[in-house]
């Protein structure tokens, strides 16, 4: 399955699975903001160290890093392209054959972008792995998330496997009528083109049907909504939130003064 990269909630009995989703969301958002505010890639990589205790406590550490290893190629490409073709480069590191030059500030820029990406990904995956989408929506609704947006958040994750299986059905249907889907790249590309029409039309059709199903269950009714999943912000959530904000502020100050 191609959905290896796209992770979804994994049920585990851990401390971080039990705390309120909005607490985890705050941590994740803070980390993402920090990756942009902190001074350089060394400071950003220090942030990465935090995932180890958090990941171990959440029992998802290895799962958090699995997708990162799959995207390893992107990181290598990032260093090659930035190192060789950084437009604002002034600081030469060494000359390469065929007239290429490796730029030092290009590499530093790559390290900044790469570390930012890495930290964001790792914390993002941690958030998705430990947070049940139903809990997330239920928690966010309390602080004013519109109903429709909540629905979109939950349903999007479920759409991907459904579209994949639909794609497979269409491919099978076309193959049974003699469509060639093997061969070289161009041939493959050509043979996949006629599959996109039915897939696209099918998705549009499905969206209409879904909206009927939603209306049939009073989706747009005016009465105040309730939640099936209960989430409460406990004292420990508040403590974690305050600690996270405090740590972030200290981190920013240290990063820019030291």
């Amino acid at each position: 399955m191609a959905s290896n990269i796209l992770l979804s909630y994994v049920h585990k009995d851990s401390y971080f699975h039990k705390i309120d989703p909005s607490t985890k969301l705050l941590i994740t958002v803070l980390v993402i903001l920090l990756t942009f505010i902190l001074k350089n890639y060394i400071h950003i990589m220090i942030l990465l160290l935090f995932i180890f205790p958090i990941g171990i406590k959440s029992k998802v550490l290895r799962m958090v890093f699995r997708p990162v290893s799959q995207l390893f190629l992107i990181f290598i490409l990032l260093f090659i392209i930035q190192g060789l073709f950084y437009p604002l480069a002034t600081d030469k590191l060494m000359d390469l054959p065929f007239g290429f030059t490796l730029w030092k500030d290009g590499l530093i820029n790559a390290a900044n972008v790469g570390s930012r990406l890495l930290v964001m990904m790792v914390f993002g995956f941690w958030f998705v792995l430990t947070t049940h989408p139903g809990d997330l929506v239920s928690s966010l609704r309390k602080i004013g998330l519109p109903n429709a947006l909540g629905y979109i958040m939950i349903t999007t994750l479920q759409m991907i496997p459904r579209i994949q299986s639909q794609m497979k059905t269409i491919i099978d249907a076309q193959k049974s009528r003699g469509l060639e889907t093997t061969g070289n790249l161009i041939k493959k590309f050509k043979s996949y083109l006629p599959l996109l029409g039915p897939l696209f039309m099918g998705s549009v059709q499905q969206a209409v049907e879904k909206s009927m199903a939603l209306e049939a269950r009073a989706f747009s009714s005016d009465c105040p909504k309730t939640n099936y999943r209960k989430t409460t912000i406990h004292l420990k959530d508040k403590i974690i939130m305050i600690c996270a904000v405090a740590l972030s502020i200290i981190g920013v100050i240290l990063s820019w003064t030291l």
Binding site: N147, I154, A213, E215, A216, R217, S221, T226
Partner: protein, 281 residues
């Protein structure tokens, strides 16, 4: 008291020439159990959709006449408001699943969330419903991973759980095995005793003959509304509309052909039993 009233209702889908439903006049009392029969393309699904207001609100087309459901004028009401009193189980259960929950229990709870049912009551209703449809084991599974029959049960349950006054079922047993069909019809029969109005579109005449108070025969218009006895023993009428009569009626018919019985055709087991007992005498 009439809970459903159709006055000169006609509907034509845009792009089609003929009326899918033409000049429908109908009134249905609270608590009635109505069977809807007719061949494929006779407008049964359109009729079912119109009770929830999907027609005219969701499909482009021309509407004439008016529909009053539970005191609400369908054309002037929001579907969300109609859905509080009308529960419509779609023909294809996969379409009924909203994907608003990642598990069966959340899917069932979705309608209740929208109606603002309190937390404890919501959980109780979900538990009761899962018990009723016998899918307790599957409560944590994704509804999209279930078999067609199980999905159909979830789809019907998702509508039932909202406690509608009127339950409209469009081919509710199309994906069920014989035992599942029996279970669904038993469930529907139980529900009809609680006083809710049931409109069921099915060509399973065996069940209709046992349960329905009245049957409507559709062929883009109402051909006939009458008791199951009158419609389901009219073999020529059924044949003309590509429908068959029940097995019990068939037995009764053969007895008659053999000149063993002169009574009118039987539609249920009790009648057939009486007929056979008389022959045995």
């Amino acid at each position: 008291m009439d809970i459903i009233t159709y006055k000169n209702f006609s509907w034509r889908y845009s792009g089609y020439k003929g009326w899918t439903l033409h000049n429908i006049n109908l009134s249905i009392k609270k608590g009635e159990f109505i069977g809807i029969i007719g061949k494929i393309g006779s407008g049964r699904t359109t009729f079912c959709s119109s009770m929830l207001g999907l027609i005219p609100h969701f499909y482009p087309g021309t509407m004439q006449g008016e529909i009053i459901i539970n005191g609400l004028n369908v054309k002037k009401s929001k579907i969300a408001d109609l859905s509080k009193c009308v529960g419509l189980a779609f023909q294809s259960p996969a379409n009924q699943l909203t994907g608003a929950g990642t598990t069966v229990e959340e899917e069932l709870a979705f309608g209740l969330q929208n109606l603002g049912v309190p937390y404890e009551e919501m959980h109780k209703r979900v538990d009761d419903m899962l018990n009723l449809i016998g899918l307790e084991k599957f409560r944590k599974r994704s509804p999209f991973e279930l078999s067609g029959g199980q999905q159909q049960k979830v789809a019907i349950a998702s509508v039932l759980i909202m406690n509608p006054n009127i339950l409209v079922l469009d081919e509710p047993t199309s994906q069920l095995d014989p035992l599942g069909t029996e279970q669904v019809f038993d469930l529907i029969k139980k529900l009809s005793k609680t006083g809710i109005t049931i409109m069921i579109s099915t060509n399973n005449v065996d069940y209709l003959s046992r349960f329905a108070d009245r049957i409507i025969l559709f062929d883009n218009k109402i051909v006939k509304i009458d008791t199951p006895k009158k419609i389901l023993t009219d073999i020529n009428l059924l044949k003309k509309h590509s429908l068959t009569h029940s097995n019990i009626t068939e037995v009764s018919l053969r007895l008659k052909k053999m000149n063993l019985s002169k009574k009118e055709l039987a539609i249920d087991f009790a009648e057939l039993k009486k007929e056979i007992e008389e022959i045995m005498k």
